[in-house]
């Protein structure tokens, strides 16, 4: 599904990613954890093709294609979805309208017929109930005037409608109260399937109680310094991130794994 090799990237003038290696197979959920400033959001941005993030080395392939060659919308149409850490407000643009335009672009790309208004609404209502979303949000401008929780919920709602093959969740849990966190996690879990992979970027371990990952990676100073199963998250909860400063950046080794040895260090 996703193969990242020795990925290096700059944000502005600063070198942030110093050689990331990660393989995500279909159906897997990977959690990427790490302290603030470790490069989590830069990694998510580099994969989605955000302006201002410059890939300076390494490679990323998505379903066999060179991901880094693709325009952001091509990546999206191929099935890569980014749930934004700070969802963007677009005043005047109806939430449902954006979603319908997006869905039909994706469907066109897949060679499926476009959905008409009726079929679209049927799908949307089904997905809204998944996230306990208020009907009114659908007809409000995209993220405009939404609370933090509503914005994050809207991101996962879009995920549920667009049905991507790879979903990257960038700190979707930050700032959520427990009820909103459970709802969001419930939506994500409902979308788990053997064909769909997820990369869950988070700073906090609590989310992983609700979205249980197959693999956990710890990012520090632009490298993955440790990988393991879901128990690694618990270890982090106890120890915090402080010990990472002492940890040398080393190739990740974990048993039973989709990680590859690297030779970048």
């Amino acid at each position: 599904m996703l193969e990242i090799r020795n990925l290096q990237a700059k944000a502005g003038d600063r070198q942030i990613l110093n050689g990331i290696d990660l393989t995500v197979s279909p159906g897997e959920v990977h959690a990427i954890m790490g302290p603030n400033g470790s490069g989590k959001s830069t990694l998510a941005g580099a994969l989605a093709g955000r302006d201002g993030i410059e890939v300076t080395g390494g490679s990323a392939t998505f379903k066999g294609q060179d991901l880094l060659e693709l325009e952001p919308e091509e990546r999206a149409r191929e099935g890569l979805f980014l749930a934004f850490q700070y969802p963007v407000e677009i005043p005047g643009v109806n939430n449902a309208y954006l979603l319908k335009a997006a869905l039909n672009e994706v469907r066109k790309h897949r060679g499926q017929p476009e959905l008409d208004a009726m079929d679209f609404m049927t799908l949307v209502r089904k997905r809204m109930s998944l996230l306990e979303m208020d009907d009114a949000l659908l007809n409000r401008p995209v993220n405009d005037g939404f609370s933090g929780g509503e914005k994050k919920r809207n991101e996962i709602f879009q995920l549920a409608v667009l049905e991507p093959t790879l979903a990257i969740l960038d700190e979707t849990d930050s700032g959520l109260d427990i009820d909103a966190l459970k709802t969001v996690a419930g939506g994500v879990n409902a979308m788990r399937s053997p064909e769909r992979s997820m990369v869950v970027v988070t700073h906090y371990q609590r989310l992983l109680h609700y979205i249980v990952p197959d693999f956990v990676h710890v990012l520090a100073r632009g490298r993955i310094v440790k990988s393991g199963g879901k128990e690694l998250a618990l270890e982090l909860e106890e120890k915090g991130y402080g010990w990472l400063d002492a940890e040398p950046a080393r190739p990740a080794v974990a048993s039973g794994v989709s990680l590859h040895e690297t030779s970048t260090a």
Binding site: E73, V88, N94
Partner: protein, 212 residues
């Protein structure tokens, strides 16, 4: 809907379009101006309403787009003379390239226009950083029983908005169209269906190549 030749991208050639339009409303009558201005090198146009009769109503809905070197200076005059007269002004200016967009309007409420009401909304959308938007709302109120409300906003299509749309699968051009159409919604709503569709298309042609 006005789409005269605007000149080339450096501002050479193009039509100058200077227009005068007036409407007079007697008791209980209503005058509505709805315009979509996309063409001409220079547009000066102020369709106006004289609200002479009691309870008469005036409306002005406008979308003006300027790209490249175009200039549009447009707006309305609402002259309230009768009692309980009402007027609504919704003006949307979109500037791209080196385009300049000006809203120039007058709301005059005469002494005898007791209980008159006006609501004005002037919004400007900027695409790129070489264009400009200007707003000159004049309000003259000569009695105390009237209500005049004015709202204005200026916003810019941000890179982050376009990236957000592209991450959801839309092309840059579609993203701009989506945002622009959302911006003009209140005016397009006033157009007959077939006109609204055409206006949207006209807008996307006029703004072609303005981003990226």
């Amino acid at each position: 809907m006005q789409n005269w030749y605007p000149g080339d991208k450096d501002g050479k050639g193009g039509i100058y379009n200077f227009v005068t339009k007036r409407g007079k409303a007697l008791a209980n009558a209503k005058v509505t101006w709805t315009q979509v201005e996309t063409g001409s090198a220079i547009t000066w146009k102020y369709p106006s309403c004289i609200l002479q009769g009691d309870n008469s109503v005036g409306e002005f809905y406008s979308v003006a787009v300027t790209n490249n070197r175009q200039q549009a200076d447009t707006g309305t005059k609402m002259v309230h003379l009768g009692r309980n007269t009402r007027s609504t002004i919704v003006s949307k200016g979109i500037s791209a390239g080196h385009g300049q967009n000006t809203y120039r309007g007058l709301v005059r409420i005469g002494k005898g226009a007791r209980g008159a009401r006006n609501f004005s909304q002037c919004d400007s959308l900027l695409i790129g950083d070489r264009c400009g938007a200007h707003t000159f709302p004049y309000l003259e109120v000569k009695n105390t029983s009237s209500q005049v409300e004015h709202e204005a906003s200026t916003s810019k299509i941000g890179e982050d908005q376009i990236f957000y749309c592209r991450q959801r699968g839309l092309s840059t051009e579609d993203a701009v169209n989506l945002i622009v159409n959302g911006f003009c919604k209140e005016v397009f709503r006033e157009l007959p269906m077939e006109f609204a569709v055409e206006a949207q298309k006209l807008l996307s042609v006029s703004l072609e190549g303005s981003v990226g």
